[in-house]
Amino acid sequence: MRPAAVVGTGQTHHAAKRLDVSMAGLCREAIDRAMADAGVDWSDIDAVVLGKAPDLFEGVMMPELFLADALGAVGKPLLRVHTAGSVGGSTGNVAASLVQSGVHDRVLAVAFEKQSESNAMWALSVPTPFTMPVHAGAGGYFAPHVRSYIRRASAPEHIGAMVAAKDRRNGARNPYAHLKQPDITVESVQASTMLWDPIRYDETCPSSDGACAVVISSEPTSGQAAWIRATAMRTEPTTFAGRDQVNPQAGQDAARALWKQAGITDPLSEVDAAEIYVPFSWFEPMWLENLGFTDIGQGWKLTEAGETEIGGRLPVNPSGGVLSSNPIGASGLLRFAEAAMQVMGTAGDHQVDGAQVALGHAYGGGSQFFAMWVVGSEKP
């Protein structure tokens, strides 16, 4: 397998409603920035990989068909990837594999969601005949499992609010973030409305329109490169008897494979920044444990000690994360791109000083799809 690197990243200004652009225009805003960042032209791109979450979100079946010209895919291979909320991450990994395998030299990965075209809570709660209609979107799905985590880890109640306040403050340092709340506090999060008890309004990701793009290349195209040291994806069924919904096996397995491939034996010491898919605040400590940064039941202690802040031992979501911007299909690729930006030193006001190794992580479905990569400033 030959080395591959992220050589350019781009993203849109994320917002609740980007009514100024079409879906094609939204994608191109991110693509044009990524290609300019990489210093490449359309003739340099060999293939395009598009990621987007369920088609019911925009009501467009197979959007890759009508977007082919906007994505510059005419006369080139165009692949659509779909793994629910983790799709942005899977899109990055598929694009990386096309370069690492030697099939293509430079691949454009794009992911988007235009949530304002419909209503994700509606789309995720379509009542199937013969069942009990208690489903209530992603928040309703994940809230019981958050409650299980709190009980199992004996975590104090304020941890979720700490994560939310941190990520929103970080988002205020990111010019592209949807939510910028520099003055948010743990107390103000705790005072916000309880939506799906135990998840409060301020502990919930927004609904965003946005896109993200990265150029992956076998050789640097400009001065910068985030070398892809490892990629991993794992899947498990949504439900089965004895399934651990708090600490899913697929996530553990993906992380183990990832660290091994990257040659990392002590993730907490060796990783300088992590962009972890945290759509609801409590998933920060849950995924810290699932990823092996801490022992089981200990993730919340890292958060509580302030070690996941910028300047802490493991800054988590310096960009503000999913809690600050959530164009669902793009959210995973944003995590991957932000990790690359950290090791390229292009993260601006949310740069972690001296970051040389970073994690990008995404999960999707009922915590059943996991995708992650490790990028580093050194060529492997």
Binding site: S118, M121, P127, W196
Partner: protein, 314 residues
């Protein structure tokens, strides 16, 4: 063999589209009884206008006025129109090259009979009297050598609404079928995996772990334990139960997997993980093949189950 139970599943939403500068111009002009194309890098005029060039992928911006008259380049006769199609009587789908355009537009031709249609037939747009900024502002095309109606003043459009309505027939699987027929008799029928011996309720066609059919049928009682839960306080489009309500995972006694149901008869703040519950059934005359025969679960009054008894089901 009886057919598995089935029921309609209708999914509908009025999607909104923000148009951006290119499609916005095209649809605003349709509202003005004008058709606008765009010139590509190779000089061709594309109608409808493309946002990005199909050859160079560059953004296109040179709008070109074309006429609302043109020639049929290909067609197909629709003897029996379907829901949502432009006309409710037989019509032709046609690729129409408008005068001044280099590409063809797909639209309906109200030709009356397939005998009237031919490649090369001249057509003109029949404009709708009330126009909103949509491709359907052209009601259809009609066979004619005459010009179409002249342009008119109208405001810009930046958004369109695109209703999508899908009508499915949702069928139960052969495994679900006895489970649903059991519910009609007030019985809770589960199935056991012959390999791992886990009991699935509702039953599955195959054990998700072992991949073998779950053939052993067993009946469960309507009592169980709340493993975990959330309180839904948020209202949303399409919601069937007014909030707040407790959505709880119920692990029936003897089952190895919990399912989501509604918990009532207790204040949300008093619900606990491990709470023992029992089913409250709807009146028998309201029963059908659905889990909704159980109106909700309520506390049974038994002592809470110890954490270790359900911790492996979280």
């Amino acid at each position: 063999m009886t057919r598995p139970l089935s029921a309609p599943l209708d999914v509908g939403f009025d999607y909104t589209r923000s148009l951006g500068p290119t499609l916005g111009r095209f649809l605003s002009d349709l509202r003005r009884r004008k058709v606008t194309g765009i010139r590509g890098s190779d000089g061709r005029v594309h109608v409808p206008p493309l946002e990005y060039d199909p050859v160079t992928a560059e953004r296109l911006s040179e709008f070109v006025d074309v006429t609302a008259t043109g020639v049929v380049r290909g067609w197909s006769w629709i003897p029996e129109p379907l829901e949502g199609q432009p006309l409710d009587r037989p019509f032709a789908w046609a690729l129409i090259q408008l005068d001044g355009a280099d590409t063809s537009l797909l639209h309906a031709v109200d030709a009356g009979s397939p005998d009237q249609m031919a490649t090369g037939t001249r057509v003109r747009a029949r404009w709708r009297p009330e126009r909103v900024g949509a491709i359907t502002d052209i009601e259809c095309f009609e066979i004619s050598d005459e010009p179409a109606d002249p342009p008119a003043e109208a405001d810009e459009v930046t958004m369109v609404t695109t209703p999508v309505n899908l009508h499915y027939t949702h069928s139960a699987s052969p495994t679900e079928d006895p489970f649903l027929r059991g519910l009609m008799e007030g019985r809770l029928i589960a199935q056991r995996c012959p390999v791992c011996e886990k009991v699935y309720f509702p039953p599955r066609p195959a054990c998700p772990v072992d991949g073998v059919p779950t053939t052993d049928q067993i009946e469960l009682s309507d009592r169980g334990t709340i493993t975990t839960y959330c309180v839904v306080n948020v209202p949303f489009l399409g919601q069937r139960i007014p909030p707040p309500y407790v959505s709880a995972y119920v692990l029936l006694d003897g089952a190895d997997i919990p399912f989501l149901h509604l918990l009532l008869g207790v204040a949300p703040e008093d619900v606990r993980m491990g709470m023992r519950v029992e089913a409250v059934w709807k009146p028998r005359e309201e029963w059908g093949p659905t889990m909704q025969n159980i109106d909700h679960f309520k506390p049974s009054g038994e002592p809470d189950a110890p954490f270790d008894s359900y911790s492996q089901h979280l």
